[in-house]
Point group: C2
Chain length 415, copies 2
C-alpha cells in the first residue's frame, strides 16, 4: 500500500475521469451501489458487529452505540437514498447564457464538478454512502474519512462503493476510503491543498474547530444551529404556539430545531402561559430571562450562556424583548446564522425581519424545521452551510459544483 498522498493523487486522477463521464454512467454506478448494498446486508452487519463490540468494550454511551448500528432498516435506507440521489436532476454540464458582449463574444456559464471533495464525519456509517452518492452524482471524486468507532463498517461500505463504480466502468479511486482513523493522518490530508478542492466536515464542534484551524483547503462548514423563533406583537398566537412546538419538540437533536424563543413584550403575558403549558407537557424544560419568569415563575432562570447555546435537547431558552429591533439585535448577538423564524400577521414587520436577519434561512410564519434540502426541493443534502461563502443553507448536488465561464469568439482580441 502506498502513502496517504499516493491514495489522494489517485483520487485526483480519477476525478478527471469521473467529471468527464456522462450522466448515464454515473447513474448506473449509483444504481449498482443500491443493489450491492441490499445484496451485501449480511457482510455489512458482520463488519458492523466488530464496531459494536469494540464500542461496548470501550464503554461508549448507549446513544452513541445506537448511532453506529447498521440495522436492516438503516441498510435499506442507504440503498433507497442512493436511488433517490441517482434520480435527481444532473447538475453537471448545465449551461446558462450570460449574453453577447459589444465585441460579439458570446458568454455563458457552465456547471462543472468541484473536483475532489474530502468528507470528514463521525459516528454514523450511513454518511459513507450518503456523501459518496452525492459526490458521484455531481461528478466529484470523494475522499471518505469516517470516525474510528465505525471504522470496520465504513471500510465495508467503501468497498461496496468501489465495486459499484467499477461495475459502471468508472475508476474505483473516485471514492477513496482513508484507511486510518487517526488525527495525524487527518491533519496531513488537510494540507493537500493542491489535490483536494473542498473539505466538508460533519460532526461536533471539536471536529469542526480542528478542521478550521488546520485546513489549507477551503472548508464548507456545517456548524451548529442556534435557531430562534420570534413571536411578534402582531402574531397569531395560536399559530405561534404550533410553530414553537414543532420547531422545538418534533426532533430536538437536529441543527434546525429551535433553541431560543423571543417574545414581544406586548404579547408575552398572553402567550407565555400557554407556551409553557403545551411545551412542558412534552417534557420541555425552560431557561427563561427575568421578564419571562415574572410572567411564568415556574420556568427556570436562564444562565448567562443559555442564550446562544445549542441544547440539542428538550430545553428552550426564553426571553421577552421590547420590539422587532431588539429581537434582530438579540439574534445578531447570539445566533449562529442558521435558521430563524418570525410569527406575525404584519407583512412589513416580516419583510424587515427577513431582510435584516443574516441567517441561511429566514422564515415567516413557518417552523424552523424547514431548513432542509428535501423540504426546500433540493433533494438530499450533504450538510447545511452556516458560512456565507459558496453555499448558505442546505448543500445539495448543485452546491457540489462550480460555474466556469465559457466564451465563444470569432478571433476577438483585446485592444
Amino acid at each position: 500500500m502506498g502513502t496517504l498522498r499516493d491514495l489522494v493523487v489517485a483520487t485526483r486522477d480519477a476525478a478527471r475521469t469521473l467529471a468527464n463521464a456522462d450522466a448515464a454512467t454515473r447513474t448506473v454506478g449509483l444504481e449498482a451501489l443500491a443493489a450491492r448494498i441490499r445484496e451485501s446486508a449480511q457482510t455489512l452487519r458482520d463488519a458492523n458487529e466488530i464496531d459494536l463490540k469494540n464500542a461496548e468494550a470501550a464503554g461508549l454511551a448507549p446513544a452513541m452505540i445506537d448511532r453506529l448500528r447498521l440495522t436492516p432498516k438503516v441498510i435499506e435506507q442507504m440503498a433507497v437514498g442512493a436511488l433517490q440521489v441517482a434520480a435527481l436532476r444532473d447538475p453537471v454540464g448545465e449551461v446558462v447564457d450570460v449574453g453577447v458582449r459589444p465585441n460579439g463574444l458570446r458568454v455563458k456559464k457552465m456547471r462543472i464538478p468541484l473536483g475532489v471533495v474530502l468528507v470528514i464525519y463521525e459516528s454514523r456509517p450511513n454518511v459513507t454512502v450518503d456523501a459518496a452518492a452525492l459526490c458521484i452524482k455531481s461528478g466529484n471524486a470523494v475522499v471518505l474519512r469516517g470516525g474510528k468507532e465505525a471504522f470496520e463498517s465504513n471500510r465495508a461500505l467503501a468497498a461496496i462503493i468501489g465495486d459499484s463504480l467499477q461495475a459502471a466502468g468508472l475508476p474505483r479511486a473516485a471514492a477513496t476510503f482513508v484507511p486510518t482513523p487517526d488525527r495525524d493522518a487527518l491533519a496531513d490530508l488537510l494540507t493537500f491543498d493542491e489535490l483536494i478542492d473542498v473539505v466538508i466536515p460533519r460532526g461536533g464542534e471539536g471536529l469542526i474547530q480542528f478542521v478550521t484551524e488546520r485546513s489549507r483547503i477551503p472548508v464548507l462548514r456545517h456548524a451548529k444551529g442556534v435557531c430562534h423563533v420570534f413571536i411578534d406583537k402582531d402574531a397569531d398566537l395560536a399559530m405561534a404556539l404550533e410553530i414553537c412546538y414543532n420547531s422545538k419538540v418534533e426532533r430536538p437533536g437536529v441543527c434546525n430545531a429551535c433553541e431560543t424563543v423571543l417574545v414581544h413584550k406586548e404579547v408575552a403575558e398572553a402567550f407565555l402561559p400557554a407556551f409553557f403549558g403545551k411545551l412542558s407537557r412534552a417534557r420541555v424544560t425552560f431557561r427563561a430571562d427575568s421578564r419571562a419568569r415574572a410572567l411564568v415563575p415556574a420556568m427556570d432562570a436562564a444562565a448567562t450562556d443559555d442564550f446562544g447555546r445549542e441544547f440539542l435537547a428538550l430545553t428552550v431558552a426564553v426571553a421577552v424583548v421590547d420590539d422587532l429591533d431588539a429581537a434582530i439585535a438579540h439574534i445578531a448577538r447570539y445566533g449562529s446564522n442558521h435558521t430563524e423564524s418570525i410569527v406575525t400577521r404584519n407583512e412589513s414587520t416580516a419583510r424587515r425581519f427577513q431582510r435584516e436577519v443574516a441567517s441561511s434561512l429566514v422564515a415567516w410564519n413557518a417552523s424552523t424545521r424547514f431548513n432542509d434540502g428535501f423540504e426546500l426541493g433540493l433533494g438530499a443534502e450533504i450538510g447545511i452551510s452556516t458560512t456565507k461563502l459558496h453555499a448558505f443553507g442546505p448543500m445539495g448536488v448543485s452546491e457540489l459544483t462550480a460555474q466556469k465561464w465559457v466564451v465563444d469568439g470569432d478571433g476577438q482580441v483585446r485592444e
Copy 2:
C-alpha cells in the same frame, strides 16, 4: 487606541448598519469618495511622497517604486473607479423566486452582503480605494491591510474613505485600516473567524501561501495564471497567430496573459515559423520543447519547470502535442485553472475542450485576455478566483454577496 481585535469588533458592528443601509445611501458614500479623492490630491501626494522616499532609501527596484507612485493620473483613475462602482447595479436585496412547495411554502432566495471582508494587498495604493468601493457597493464592511511600502499613502486614502462614509451618514468603521503593516498583526487577523467572513489576498505567491496556511477564515484566492492557448489541427492559423500575439504581448505582466502555447503536431510546421517571427519581433523569448525546436531551432530549449511557470514577462513556453487529448492532459497537469483558449474551426473539438478543461474561463477562438470583470460585463472586479468555491473567475460586486433562503408560510409545521 484599542487593540486590533477592538477595531475589527467595531467593523463587525458597522457591517450590520452598512448591510441595512439603502442602496442610495451607499451610492452617496461612493460619490463623496470620488469627490474627496479629487479634492485631496495634494494631501495624497504628500503622504505618497513619504512612501516614495522610504522606498528609495530602502533600495526598492524602480519597477516597484513605480507601482507605489500616486500620479495625478492614478489619483483621477481612483476617483473615476469609485464612480464606476457607484453606477453598477446594486446586488443587495435582489430576490429570486424558487417556487412553491407542495405544502404551500413560498421559497425565495435573497442576496445579502457577506459581512466583513478582509482585503490583503501589496504595493499598489489604489487597491485601497478599489477594494473599499466594491465592498461598500455590495454592503460589506471592509478591513484594509495594505503593504508596508504604501503605508502612508494607504492611511491617507483610508482616512478619505472614512470621511466619505461619515458624510453619507454611514459608520466610519465600515472601512477599517489596519494601522500596522507587520506580519504578526496579519497572522492575528487571520484567526478572527468569528468577526470576519472572508479574506481576499491580492499579491505574490508568498503572500497567498502565508494567508492560505494561517487563515481560519474562508479565503477567496486570486492566485497565479498559467494560461494556455491550444492551436488545434483545424485552426485558422492567421486567427491563431493574432490570438497568441494578443494573449502574450498586449500586457504580459497580468494574470490572464498566455504563458504556454500548445500546437497540434499536424499544423506545427505551418504555424511555428510565423509564430516565432511575429512574436520575436515583439521581443518575446521562447522556451520550446524538442518537437517545437526541431521545426524552429532558433527557439531556446525549455527547462523542466518552464511548463507550468507564470513568466509575467515577454517569454512564452511552446510545446507540440499529438492531439486534443494530449493538450487537455497537458493543461490538467501544468495549468492553474485560470484561463485557456482553443483555436479551431471544428465546433465539436471546441466543445470538448470547453467541457473538459476545468479552468475559470475557457475560450474558443478568442484571446485569454478576456477573463476580466469589465470584459465579461461584471464591471470592476476585486480579483479573479482560481479556486472553484464560491466564485470561479472574476469577482465583481455580486460575488461579494451570498444568497440566503427566505420562506413565507401560513403556519406550516413539519410532520
